[in-house]
């Protein structure tokens, strides 16, 4: 089960009910893990903007429809801290992405790499476009054949485009 922070965002009604039930049943149970309240410490503006660019390209591993930059999930906060730390240790963006992919899989990348496992993902739209083009071509050809006996001027006006 994902942590309630996420459930509430995704499913506000059920989340609220769940939160109320939990509040009633388990008053002593804190629903969030311990967190470090210190904000991220950037060394300069360039680092901050690089960090935000990078975090926007990474998917939150828990709230999967949010980027790492947007998510308020606990693990996202931890990962942001980790990413900043790696940046400050001098790793480049590709290395940081590789670090996360090795641990969480390619799902963390909003733009997956082009490789045998993802060719359908990248080529799917082109494939569909091609199939649609073939269908249109077939229709046009067939119509051209059917209309051929009529004077050529008429067909042009009829099609309009």
């Amino acid at each position: 089960m994902p942590m309630p922070a996420c459930t509430a965002i995704r499913n506000a009604g059920r989340g609220l009910l769940l939160a109320l039930l939990m509040a009633a049943a388990l008053p002593a149970l804190a629903q969030q893990p311990l967190h470090d309240p210190r904000p991220l410490a950037f060394r300069d503006a360039a680092e901050e903007s690089r960090f935000h660019d990078l975090a926007a390209q990474l998917r939150c591993v828990q709230c999967q429809n949010q980027s790492l930059a947007d998510s308020n999930a606990q693990i996202a906060q931890d990962l942001r801290r980790e990413v900043l730390q790696l940046m400050q240790q001098g790793h480049d963006d590709a290395q940081i992405k590789q670090f996360l992919v090795a641990r969480y899989g390619e799902f963390v990348l909003y733009q997956p790499p082009l490789q045998p496992g993802t060719w359908l993902l990248w080529g799917g739209p082109l494939l569909l476009l091609g199939a649609g083009g073939l269908v249109v071509l077939g229709i046009v050809r067939r119509r051209g054949r059917n209309v051929a006996p009529a004077p050529a001027g008429n067909t042009d006006e009829g099609d309009g485009w």
Binding site: P2, L29, P33, L34, H35, D78, L79, I139
Partner: protein, 203 residues
């Protein structure tokens, strides 16, 4: 696609277009039914672990009950173990607790106490009972990132040579244990048995 334009109403559609249209319709219907069926599945959003069949990440963590002691990942080699990620703040871990307790009666289960106040964790174990052979404490949660943990509870099965063989996200039920965990464990034991036999067979 092809059946929709119907530019000349007088002309009947070719049979091929009708067949394609019907197939397309049923394809979409099937996709919709699949989506609706899957919407109730708690495992719907679970990502496949990137660690399966890879070496378990190295760690060195203090023992919850005695922080002066440290357990290293290498020290756990030799026999399969289950690593359970939990926290006293995690409601689903409480749900999973009886199932884990039953499993731990005969197998090695290591607790990984994730981002938790040690006092709360100890109190939790005292109240519910401690199913773990040893509990490792990670207040900072750095090791969890190496393991690709997203939320508690998560459970990893690591074989005797330190390779991650199976993972489950969310609260395990008895059904998950019987149908997934035990077969995965048996597979490891069988592979281990074969390796041992091979070792002894060749002088």
């Amino acid at each position: 696609m092809s059946e929709s334009p119907a530019p000349r109403p007088s002309r009947p559609l070719p049979p091929v277009a009708i067949v394609i249209g019907v197939l397309f319709f049923f394809g979409l219907l099937g996709l919709m039914i699949y989506g609706v069926m899957k919407s109730g599945d708690p495992q719907r959003d679970v990502l496949p672990s990137a660690l399966i069949d890879k070496p378990a990440p190295a760690f060195a963590l203090p023992v919850l009950h005695d922080p002066s002691m440290t357990v290293r990942s290498e020290e756990l080699r030799g026999a399969p173990y289950l690593l359970n990620v939990w926290g006293s703040w995690c409601a689903a871990c409480r749900e999973e607790h009886p199932v884990l307790t039953r499993f731990a009666e005969s197998k090695r289960v290591i607790g990984y106490n994730w981002k938790d106040e040690p006092a709360d964790a100890l109190h939790w174990l005292e109240t519910l009972g401690n199913p773990f052979m040893v509990v490792l404490s990670d207040v900072e949660g750095r090791t969890a990132i190496d393991w690709g943990v997203t939320a508690a509870p998560e459970t990893f099965l690591v074989d005797g040579s330190g390779i991650v063989r199976w993972k489950y996200s969310g609260a395990m039920t008895q059904q998950v244990v019987d149908e997934k965990l035990i077969p995965a464990l048996q597979k490891i034991e069988k592979a281990q048995g074969n390796a041992d036999a091979g070792l002894h067979g060749n002088p």
